[in-house]
Symmetry: C2
């Protein structure tokens, strides 16, 4: 009799869970603040708290926007702007320095409803590269503008222009001082005093990104980065490359990547996640895992991605020690994590 009762309880619990999981959320927002060798032993509870608070603030901002009927495009732009303005992350203010001591920023955005896309690369005076990317998408007739051309366009569009110094933070400057005399690149998360080689993955890939599904079923993705410390100037990573660091298509999913950009370009990671879903009928988790847990490491690269599909299912795989990440759903379910589960 007790066993029967137990079975009945388990049955109802399972059903309730299945219903809860099966219900398509009205809207979903997923964000990341970079993946890498983010080890608990190398950080402090205080540092963890600061990062988590920042990610939670971004999630709440996006949640309010989406709850009030805002588009996924507006949400991912607003959230990435916040993360750009936050000097904790290697995007916008707080970006790392190139070999020449400059901050060169890249960003891209894509609208899954229309497949419209915009990107800027190698910009140095635009306060919010993600907003410039959106302006390129909506007002330039082009998809990608780089360097001075992108900056001139941003000025014409009345976007906020800042001095080169705006992006400078003391910690990034010090990190650059340590490696500037070398031709080595460093990623942006390391407590180790030694110089990092680009081949090392004991650092964090400082990219920020957001993907969202809105109440109207539209998907959007946005990515922004300050690149790699001490990179050669003119280097473009995956963040501003539509199909590599960013992709969104209402038919399948929205994706934003963070990692060793060169590998993500060579594999066209973001677009391939969408293609695996479309042509192999895989789930967003299967497609994302295929790229992040198999294809990227098979080539020797590392990193992670966030994705949301048209039904609100989420994937956040990474093959590094940690990835700053979080999501929030229309029912208020919210998670922020740093390390592996």
């Amino acid at each position: 009799m007790r066993i029967l009762l137990l079975l009945i309880i388990i049955f109802f619990m399972t059903t309730a869970e299945a219903q809860k999981e099966g219900k398509k959320p009205d809207f979903v927002l997923v964000i990341h603040g970079g993946a890498g060798a983010i080890l608990k032993k190398n950080t402090t509870p205080e540092k963890e708290r600061v990062y988590k608070e920042s990610l939670e603030k971004a999630l709440r901002t996006g949640y309010n926007l989406l709850k009030n009927g805002g588009s996924s495009l507006d949400a991912v732009e607003a959230v990435v702007r916040l993360l750009e303005d936050d000097s904790l992350f290697n995007a916008g203010k707080g970006s790392v320095f190139t070999h020449e001591g400059k901050n060169e920023l890249d960003a891209s955005i894509m609208d899954g409803k229309t497949l419209a896309a915009g990107a800027v690369a190698g910009v140095t005076v635009i306060k919010n590269p993600i907003t410039a990317a959106r302006a390129v998408m909506e007002k330039s007739g082009h998809v990608m503008l780089v360097g001075k051309g992108a900056e001139e366009f941003a000025k014409e569009q009345g976007l906020e222009i800042v001095s080169l110094e705006y992006f400078r933070t003391e910690s990034r400057w010090k990190a650059w001082q340590q490696v500037r005399s070398t031709s080595k690149m460093e990623l942006d998360w390391s407590n180790k005093p030694v110089v990092q080689q680009p081949e090392s993955n004991d650092s964090k890939y400082g990219t920020v990104g957001a993907v969202a599904l809105d109440k109207n079923g539209n998907l959007a993705a946005a990515t922004s980065t300050g690149g790699m410390t001490n990179k050669k100037f003119g280097r473009v990573g995956d963040a501003p490359i539509i199909g590599a660091g960013t992709y969104a298509d209402n038919k399948t999913c929205a994706v934003s990547c963070t990692g060793w950009g060169e590998y993500f370009i060579r594999l066209g990671v973001a677009k391939t996640v969408a293609d695996i879903m479309e042509y192999k009928k895989a789930s967003v988790q299967e497609a994302a895992d295929e790229m992040i847990m198999k294809r990227v490491p098979a080539l020797g690269g590392d990193g992670g991605l966030i994705a949301v599909d048209k039904d609100g299912n989420i994937a956040m795989p990474f093959n590094t020690a940690g990835m700053f990440r979080g999501y929030i759903k229309s029912d208020g379910t919210s998670v922020v994590r740093i390390y592996g589960n």
Copy 2:
């Protein structure tokens, strides 16, 4: 009796044809010199002859290289160099002018064996952008370098540097003079005296490209372009975007695109052809047609692509009036075409 004889003859002819088609060629080279509104009524037999001769010369050069055991990577670079040096095509010498009266060149290359890739964008003084793209791939540790950073790298690598004037040809200069006072862009093939809008497809997309399969079964792809006449400076099209204008993977195929670049980026055309083959088990023709005859026009774009798969099968679809194109196989079979079949 006569009918029986006829049937026997037909049977043997069909079998012979099937065997001929079924035999995998030792090597294959496919090239293009741009797609667009290339109408027979707008051209002359002399002009046709000049273009065809140039394409045939490129094919013969690549054929000799591949026949002597050269790699597909060497072949596509050599062939694209020839087309860059040829002022007939909008790549390298003979490139079109930007809104500011400059020639800004883009190129990319990819090795299907290793998935290594390299690209340069917005370069103005490198004689052969495709060779710079290969140097980026092999010697920079990066995949994409843009603008002055790319030029500085090319100089360090000892690549041939030319003056801005080198790329200037009288016909391109005149074309620019016609549209410079406007903010309109023109593509590079038009006999019409009127100014072209970027929305118009009554022009040619001046891109050159090559894809090859070598004796060792390795695939490679290369693409180079001078962009759109009167484009805003800093605009990057699909040609230097790995996954959009260029892709190669020994598992599937090598692809080089030509067309309205923005649409090719938004759809990740080159990588998606490979993905449709890999995940949908489609043929190279089916995959290429899906993108060029369906997806690109559905968004409002146009253009074409060339592709060769790991078994030497070829696809050269385009949705414009014409596309300068040709191929040559190890058995010496060679075709050069301009208009629709």
